[in-house]
Amino acid sequence: MRVQDGRVPDRVGEPFDAVLVAAQGGAGWAAERLWTSLAAAVAGYLRAQGAVEPDDLTSELFVGVLRSLATFSGSEEQFRSWVFTIAHRRLTDERRRAGRRPPPIGGLEPEDGPPSPSAEQEAIRNVSTDRVRSLCERLVPDQCDVLLLRLVGGLTIEEVATALDKTEGAVKALQRRA
């Protein structure tokens, strides 16, 4: 995310073009670099948006991203924007499915799920998640989407407008009212 210094750090660690080409050729190591550089941010975005299973949705999302990787071309920032746009659309689909089929009450703990982080990290994350969710609930959904896509995904106004199927003026208006 570009919150601290206004730049999206080079998380891949190697020239992005080389990693992208290798990943497009199906190299597992390159795909792992892409996964490692973006998975936490995508999972955090989905968690902030109230996804039911953000980690599972993140994995499912990346399976589709890797299979469609041959269709992408661009820089690392553009790749990040591409992935977050896809994440937002998948989230929208999940919300529509949940509207037709209510989620199970109480939730389910996966038997073979990923190991949870440390208690301290989990506590901090839960507090942060609650505050973000509380703030987003006071906003219009579109305003929350704009803020999270801009702050977490690092998308520009144009990219947010594309992801949300809105005009750039509408996105700026949502920012101001937030």
């Binding site: 995310m1 570009r2 601290q4 792992e32 996964w35 936490a40 953000p54 999302l61 101001r176």
Partner: protein
């Protein structure tokens, strides 16, 4: 009381942020006190999105470990709301119908001469293909094979060529000591059947009554062997012995030998199947006749005993 009733202490004043200020904040380049609540949001988001990546699912872990294929796109990355369904597909004819229509349209566009040439070419191709497969009638097969072999390096099957060299083949086999009489006879008969002109319209044998050509009788060939001195001196007239009439010819042959006086005057007719070796129905009489023409003719029995049943 203020004229407008406004109270600055009751209504907080908001400094409207322009787009540039908001953009500066969202990109981390501006710290405004009025955006303090959002600054807290930024810190919370940072804590939510930092840290290690979540553990991938089994499917994704396999892709990260073993690699994957990117040949096919995946609709998973496309929102269902954006999927407009399968691409519109124009209704069309089956493939075979399309091919047929292409051929018909092609022919329709040709002139009359071109159509005639096309038909002749197709017919020639069919005849050539039939010749290559060897399924044409023998005369047609010979014509096609001869024509094709004259203009191409290919060799088509032609029974006429095979039969023309039949004598040479038998001669070669004879020099190698590998002549098998029954086999040669069968092949000769087969060639004769094929080479022989078609039966006459009235169903009679065209060779009936035709005398054997000089040099083609067994007696002539026998005189060319080392045992020529023991060969009979004359050959009865008439066609070479055929099945069913050989008994008469054998008797005639025996009568013309030096041992003619001891030759039986009649050949007992035995059951065709009881005379060893198995052969034509009255071949036993022919063997008796041949034996009578040898130097041991005086020791030959006067009759051939009937064979025992079951042999």
């Amino acid at each position: 009381m203020s004229g407008c009733g406004d109270d600055d202490s009751e209504m907080p004043r908001h400094h409207p942020l322009d787009d540039a200020a908001i953009e500066a904040f969202l990109t981390g380049q501006l710290a405004d006190e009025d955006l303090a609540p959002l600054a807290g949001l930024v810190e919370d988001l940072d804590s939510m999105t930092s840290g290690p990546a979540p553990v991938p699912s089994m499917q994704l872990a396999a892709m990260l470990t073993d690699g994957f294929s990117t040949e096919n796109g995946d609709l998973l990355v496309t929102a269902a709301s954006n999927v407009t369904g399968p691409a519109p597909q124009a209704a069309g004819l089956p493939k075979w119908r399309k091919k047929k229509m292409v051929v018909v349209e092609l022919l329709a566009g040709l002139s009359l001469a071109a159509k005639a040439a096309f038909g002749m070419s197709a017919a020639a191709a069919a005849v050539t293909a039939g010749g290559a497969a060897g399924v044409l009638p023998a005369p047609a097969q010979h014509v096609v094979a001869t024509g094709v072999e004259a203009v191409t390096p290919f060799s088509f099957p032609d029974e006429a060529d095979d039969k023309a060299d039949f004598g040479g083949t038998v001669s070669t086999d004879a020099r190698d000591g590998g002549v098998d009489g029954p086999t040669v006879s069968a092949e000769a008969k087969l060639n004769g059947d094929v080479n022989r002109p078609a039966d006459t319209p009235d169903g009679t044998d065209p060779d009936a009554g035709r005398p054997a050509a000089p040099g083609q009788t067994g007696l002539d060939r026998a005189n060319q062997t080392p045992a020529a001195g023991h060969a009979p001196t004359a050959v009865p007239t008439g066609r070479p012995a055929d099945a069913g009439t050989q008994s008469t010819a054998g008797r005639g042959t025996a009568s013309s030998t030096p041992a003619a006086g001891r030759a039986p005057t009649a050949v007992p007719a035995g059951p065709p199947s009881s005379t060893p070796p198995a052969g034509a129905g009255t071949q036993s009489s022919a063997g008796l006749g041949a034996a009578s023409s040898t130097p041991a003719a005086g020791f030959i029995p006067s009759s051939v005993p009937p064979a025992r049943p079951g042999r």
